[in-house]
Symmetry: C2
């Protein structure tokens, strides 16, 4: 259950107070809905429409949000590098600017020299979301160079294509702030937002903000390989926390922290948790609300800071039913937005009463990876440090991206259309999940291969029983093999797939503590290939695994 | 003189060998011209047109380039962090992909779920570059979702909006490689290129590649404030090298290095030079070819590595003539491309026989800052390390940017149109430079204010004689003041400007070794404000300086 919208006999929806399922003590807190957006905008100040205009989330929050208690400080968790950042001298001078001021200060080129007069985007109109429908009935939405100056829009190319503030332009920051209230409704008032150049970049910045060389970062025992590869050169070691199909185990997290011995571990007690709570990469595990609350309680007990990396948050699916494939009608028929939201597992951000969560959102999996754009939400001093780092690295998401997102989200879809799109791609990924899991049931030898059908995301995690591999049998001593043999078996299965024209990802790439694997896993994705190719690939992978495990004879008889 | 194109009686221009002014020993080396591009493309392999297709500069170089000697290794200059980077496990798996392979490996979403069917850009057509002309006669160039798959183009939204390789898509990497040969013609064969998310991001990556905490980075004594602010939290100190109107002084650089004492300096002998050779920020100084050769010789002597940050390279101007303003005809009349190129001061990259230069180029000042896109060029192992870092940070420039640049550079302008555009904006900046310098001659009190007219860039650096300020007179002891008083005077002049509705940048912000200022400088820019506002601002600044320095009585009589 997520921030559910239950309007109780209230007609003015602009400041409703509703029962919130996260308030287990029966208390109420303000909830902000899609229907509240327009009335709230009408009585609020619009975002700035000048080049590099300053904005922040607090400018766009509802009254109910602003009345909540404030967050705690987490300054004691910041790295030396992060603490040492000074504000930009040049950006600081902007505070002296007032109406009538002529600035010869910042080297911002005149928009006269941007060789783009207009950018037009052909976009799907809800509910005709499919490619084929959008080609026929797509709507063209344009942004010109001086639309804002001419009063036609809140954003234009003269703003988008110049330097901007690192937190993002007001016109989009407002949309994201409203989205955050609608979806997450954080329990504290002073959360802030900074737009990012994608979550890969945001994670690098976050790790530099919260770690020193030699620190441990706690994460699921299998985790996103790029996160490991980002942290390693910084001198950060990943510490794998045991997990089940519901993700990280709070007891193991608590046990490790409660028994931490700095001298034997040769590292200070860790405090940073990196987690992908929903449709985890690579295992597809999805933490239940109960699990999230348990982990958050451990975080409160040990004063942890949580990086909540949620690219797949909206890809939460209907349960898998063996042999069935959910269909996606054309045109798509979206359910009510409130129902969709109420069925999402609530985020850490939505239970974070202290401000100890930095949530990473990304447009990559819900709009397009090429946007190189996302946003982080968290405690205001943490976001301020994130902005300072952005100013001297990525600066801001690309203006061409921001223009495309403005056309799409503000000028075409609005919040309702965006949430309907999210329902649409969730339905598409559900269908794809059904295809891959059914193909696995049909083609993989269940004598050795096993899995849990994913509840979210774009990955399917397959265990292959290593003890039945011929190399294991010949080399194991006392029921165990050395790690080199495990990798040899893993490579052999991987290459058997290559031989059958299938590429899958090897489990060891995702092992948080590299070199500590004991089981054999493979990650497959159902995001990319067309449905028939997914089936072909899984069928071929079945052939490869049978060959590898000497199960070839069974093939004819046992394939369903 | 730059890589000048002097075709001597050669009719097949695809592999000409011409005299190159950089070869002072009378030798010849191959030169690649705009006219060579098409014939070279016709006999070469086209760039890949698949999602995340691998490309590099060497795929697109001319035969003449590939025959040059190879670079040296600079692996000994890499930081521990950079050396520790492993290649991405997931990207490494791509090498097993062949025709017919179905990948279930990387989590690349299907382009079916990118809600953009087409992106159109309205672009100026040479020579009708001005905004007013482009509004009327601009050309609309579009990229659709499946143009490449349909054989209509080398690039489309299904590629651009998905994940890509960090060095950039082949279709643009080819353009930039050709541009690099045309403009810089590096003296070694194996240079490589990686596209960047802008030079601010590229500089952060480069500093992390070449520095450790406690290292010094050598730079001009006044340098880009953001570079100082990027380096400081990494624990890097800037070491200011003395400079004149031609930039950094090679003798001072050599002296500092030759007399470096590790124990008294408490730091290892530095080896990294950060320089903005052309239209330097903030001083506008531009190094002559002679000066560059002298500095390069010092770099060879002490085995230095040079970060050549060149956002303003193409903004090299005609000499300033007092009282005159260069006009920009409408439509613009571009000179011959070869003449334009031959008048550019050659880059460090073009004299770098060893491979000890990493050149940073940016689209920010020549196309638009909102592109958040540029490229680095250098020695292949250095670029490989840069790519590894990009993979776990910015990943790649935004696909919306890449689409816009592809529409502009490949589908609309070509190399000739791009160079003509650069001539156009150079002419516009020349006119703006004339306006600000003439305004300074008219309105600033030359009793205290002095300057050198800029030869390049977008900044005008003004010295104000601090010894004539009332506070200096009252506080100086033995002809000197303390630094706090200097800052007090600087702030007082700055605030006097604010009082007159003018914002300028304070010189102390740019002091490489903060706190070591001895003179009073202000940086103004002629990039942003319209011509009449530039004049107003300088007139008001004249009023402010006169008030500050007690020169008010002279105002009526002495203003020219």
């Amino acid at each position: 259950m997520a921030p559910k919208v239950e309007v109780e006999g209230v007609t003015d929806t602009s400041s409703v107070v509703t029962r919130d399922p996260l308030m287990t003590n029966g208390a109420t807190r303000s909830v902000f809905t899609v229907d509240d957006v327009l009335p709230h905008r009408q009585k609020s100040k619009p975002p700035p429409t000048v080049v590099a205009g300053f904005a922040n989330a607090s400018m766009f929050k509802s009254e109910g949000c602003l009345k909540k208690p404030k967050s705690q400080s987490f300054a004691h968790r910041l790295s030396g590098e992060s603490k040492a950042r000074s504000p930009s001298s040049l950006k600081g001078a902007m505070k002296y600017s007032r109406s009538g001021t002529i600035s010869l200060c910042g080297g911002l080129p005149s928009s006269d020299y941007f060789p783009f007069e207009e950018i037009s985007t052909k976009l799907p109109v809800p509910p005709e979301f499919s490619d084929a429908e959008a080609v026929v009935s797509g709507r063209t939405v344009s942004t010109g160079k001086h639309d804002a100056q001419q009063g036609k829009s809140l954003y234009d190319l003269s703003i988008a294509l110049n330097y901007g503030q690192s937190m993002g332009p007001g016109a989009l920051l407002r949309f994201i702030t409203e989205h955050t209230e609608i979806v997450h409704n954080p329990p504290y008032s002073d959360w802030e937002i900074c737009m990012t150049a994608g979550s890969t970049s945001a994670l690098e910045i976050a790790l530099r903000m919260f770690t020193e060389r030699g620190h441990y970062v706690m994460t699921e025992e299998y985790t996103f390989s790029s996160a490991i590869e980002t942290a390693a050169p910084m001198g950060c070691k990943m510490l794998g926390i045991k997990m089940d199909a519901d993700g990280m185990l709070p007891d193991d997290l608590d046990h490790i922290l409660s028994t931490w011995d700095e001298s034997s571990r040769r590292a200070p007690k860790p405090f940073l948790v990196y987690t992908v709570p929903t449709g985890q990469n690579p295992t597809a595990s999805t933490q239940s609300l109960e699990r999230r609350k348990q982990i958050y309680a451990v975080a409160e007990k040990h004063d942890l800071f949580i990086l909540e990396d949620e690219p797949y948050y909206f890809l939460q699916m209907e349960p898998f039913i063996s042999g069935e494939t959910h269909s996606v009608p054309t045109p798509f028929k979206p359910a009510a937005v409130a129902d969709f939201l109420s069925n999402l597992v609530p985020s850490y951000l939505s239970i974070d009463s202290s401000g100890r969560v930095l949530r990473l959102d990304s447009f990559s999996k819900i709009i397009a990876p090429g946007s190189r754009c996302g946003w982080v939400t968290g405690q205001p001093q943490v976001i301020e440090r994130f902005i300072r780092h952005s100013e001297v690295s990525v600066q801001q998401p690309a203006g061409f991206t921001l223009t495309a997102l403005y056309n799409l989200l503000e000028q075409n879809w609005g919040h309702k259309g965006f949430l309907e799109w999210l329902m649409y791609i969730r339905a598409e990924y559900t269908r794809r999940r059904d295809i891959i899991v059914n193909a696995c049931e049909t083609y993989l030898p269940t004598e050795v291969a096993s899995w849990v059908p994913p509840k979210a995301g774009m990955f399917h995690w397959i265990n292959v029983d290593i003890t039945q591999h011929p190399l294991y049998r010949s080399r194991s001593r006392d029921g165990a093999i050395d790690h080199a043999t495990l990798l040899e078996i893993e490579e052999s299965v991987f290459l058997a797939g290559v031989e059958q024209n299938v590429l899958i990802a090897r489990g060891s790439w995702f092992r948080a503590q590299r070199g500590s694997d004991a089981k054999l896993f493979f990650r497959t994705t159902f995001a990319a290939a067309p449905a028939d190719k997914i089936r072909d690939a899984i069928r071929n992978m079945g052939i490869a695994i049978r060959k590898e495990f000497g199960l070839e004879e069974k093939q004819n008889g046992h394939v369903k």
